[in-house]
């Protein structure tokens, strides 16, 4: 596929012009999470995060996308207080996460990637523990709401070790929601989760967002980001290479592909068709043309006209749009990065 011009992605002028008014208003509000020059180098010398700047808007679903080892979990763990940053400044709800850690942390809920639970505890005990730990007085009615919402109410007296993997993940979410956080971090929420639970999880995340919770999730499933996110950040090798509205990203970086199934196979693309940069596929039986959806002239009508003039017949044609996955792969490979 065609290479993507990153300069275009970062083009601020066009970006601003394309935004809806509501989004501009949202931008004017202070970010719920602000990350400035955040860097992390582990004691081993591994540079997990190069200086990162990122603002999370209140009430959005932000997906942090990247291959394994890109630095997604490190970023989340620093914001949540589990990993010490090497440098930079972070605020959550305007509170510095270091100096005003109590206020900042009371706002934040974290669902880590690993299923780590107190296996001998009951669901109710472990979720109550989390609520207390985060400084909240007991509230049986709120707890009931959370457990019912996660289909855990009937299992509240069960020992965690007796639950299925999917149920355990729900328990982790219930723990994270137990203290009524307004910012929720979900680290790979659907890793190793079956399709049904995945759909449930997505529905839950939307409900939470509708309830005013800001959600930051990491994923390496591109369809998840495509399905859920309002904005997408792509991180690779510790570097935040792109932050963009999802729809805008898909539009800006999306390419379409026209495939023509020829009546007669050909051995080479005729010189008269050079300007379209066509490629010959399927043993000379198909012609492929990649074009930019947003271009003023896609080149499709003129190509079809030229084919008619040359007497090249085709029996079928199809167009496909590049997915976020194509965009992602292109972005990551463009930066010379393969998954670590």
């Amino acid at each position: 596929m065609n290479r993507i011009d990153l300069a275009d992605v970062a083009g601020a002028g066009e970006y601003a012009a394309n935004r809806r008014e509501g989004e501009i208003a949202r931008d004017a509000a202070p970010p719920i999470v602000s990350i400035r020059n955040l860097a992390k180098t582990y004691a081993s010398g591994l540079e997990a995060l190069k200086p990162i700047n990122l603002d999370i808007r209140k009430g959005e679903i932000f997906a942090l996308l990247g291959p394994n080892g890109a630095g997604k979990t490190t970023l989340i763990n620093i914001v949540c207080g589990i990993v010490t940053p090497s440098g930079g400044k972070i605020t959550a709800g305007g509170h510095d996460i270091k100096r005003e850690y109590r206020a900042a942390r009371m706002m934040i809920g974290l669902v880590p990637q690993e299923l780590t639970t107190d296996r001998f505890e009951s669901v109710w005990t472990t979720v109550s523990f989390s609520r207390g730990l985060f400084g909240r007085p007991p509230s049986p009615s709120y707890m009931e709401r959370v457990l019912r919402d996660l289909s855990l109410w009937d299992k509240r007296h069960d020992q965690i070790q007796s639950l299925s993997g999917g149920m355990k993940r729900r328990v982790m979410i219930a723990k994270a929601l137990s203290h009524e956080p307004t910012i929720l971090f979900l680290d790979e929420p659907t890793a190793g989760v079956d399709v049904e639970l995945r759909r449930d999880m997505w529905a839950l995340v939307r409900r939470l967002r509708d309830g005013g919770v800001t959600i930051i999730l990491t994923t390496h499933y591109i369809d998840e980001a495509e399905e859920m996110a309002d904005r997408i950040g792509v991180i690779n090798k510790g570097e935040l290479i792109l932050v963009e509205e999802k729809t805008l990203l898909m539009k800006k970086l999306g390419h379409k592909r026209l495939t023509l199934v020829l009546q007669e196979p050909m051995s080479a693309v005729p010189g008269e068709l050079a300007e379209w940069h066509l490629t010959l596929k399927a043993g000379g039986n198909e012609l492929e043309y990649n074009f930019d959806i947003n271009a003023e002239h896609t080149g499709v009508p003129s190509l079809l006209g030229r084919l008619r003039d040359l007497g090249i017949g085709f029996k079928d044609l199809a167009t496909t749009q590049s997915s976020l996955e194509d965009i992602f792969v292109s972005l990551v490979s463009e930066r010379g990065g393969n998954s670590r």
């Binding site: 589990i82 206020a103 974290l110 001998f120 985060f134």
Partner: protein
């Protein structure tokens, strides 16, 4: 949303969680030490003690009570203190503690408080068990309780440090088994230091546990191997040394944060 200056709910959550775990394992927590203590009495008190004369005006059976209590107190405080914090590290649930709005002081207060509570209860249970075998009269009850509490807290704190330092279960047990128990035996749990030959007596005085046992025994019988003020000073010194290490751990995130 109000942000409390002290996260009392958080401290209580950890404390009650730890206490609930002890109640679930009540057999290990209390019954095992009681059975062990009873066996000590049968062996040292009845079988050997009946052939021994009094020590410092106290029957041998009664003489060993403070040492026996401390022996259990040391090992159980260290075990409870270390296990409470090691378990979440081992299982991975430590993430929640690290991301919670609790200060290091609150974390230590909750974990060490719970471990010390268990030890104090255990010490009193052993005392009760011992009183079934021998008649015990506590000369300085206030100081007895004070030493019991201070020793429990100090060794629970020491255990907490071990729980953070340990990388595996073997390391968790190595200090109690290789250092604390031998020092307790050498430290006069079952005899007066005066009963040792001069060379061993000199060695024993280098053992910090001597000062702890001596002070505790003084609170029972009014006699001691070393001056009570020195005993109290040694216990407090150990306590403050542990505090300094704990505060360093939280300042640097040693083995807690990467």
């Amino acid at each position: 949303m109000s942000v409390p200056a002290f996260n009392a709910y958080g401290v209580w959550a950890i404390y009650s969680f730890e206490m609930a775990r002890a109640l679930r394992t009540i057999w290990q927590s209390l019954v095992t030490p009681v059975i062990t203590t009873s066996l000590y009495f049968i062996v040292f008190g009845a079988a050997i003690g009946s052939r021994m004369s009094q020590v410092g005006g106290v029957s041998y059976g009664a003489f060993i009570v403070p040492g026996l209590i401390l022996l259990s107190l040391f090992t159980q405080s260290i075990f409870n203190g270390s296990f409470g914090i090691y378990l979440p590290r081992f299982v991975g649930t430590i993430y929640e503690l690290l991301s919670a709005p609790v200060s290091p002081l609150e974390i230590v207060l909750a974990y060490v408080g719970a471990a010390a509570t268990k030890s104090i209860v255990l010490g009193l249970v052993i005392l009760g068990t011992a009183s079934l075998f021998v008649s015990i009269h506590v000369v300085h009850p206030f100081w007895m309780i004070a030493f019991l509490v201070l020793t429990s807290v100090t060794f629970s704190l020491f255990g907490f440090i071990l729980g953070i330092w340990s990388k595996n279960f073997e390391q968790l047990q190595i200090i109690p088994m290789l250092v604390v128990t031998p020092l307790t035996f050498l430290g006069g749990a079952f005899y007066s230091i005066d009963m040792l030959p001069p060379t061993w007596r000199a060695v024993a005085y280098a053992d910090p546990v001597v000062y702890l046992i001596s002070g505790f025994r003084w609170s029972f019988y009014g006699t001691a191997d070393v001056r009570v003020a020195i005993s109290l000073g040694a216990t407090l010194a150990f306590f403050f040394a542990c505090l300094v290490i704990v505060s360093w751990i939280f300042r640097t995130g040693y083995r807690l944060k990467s």
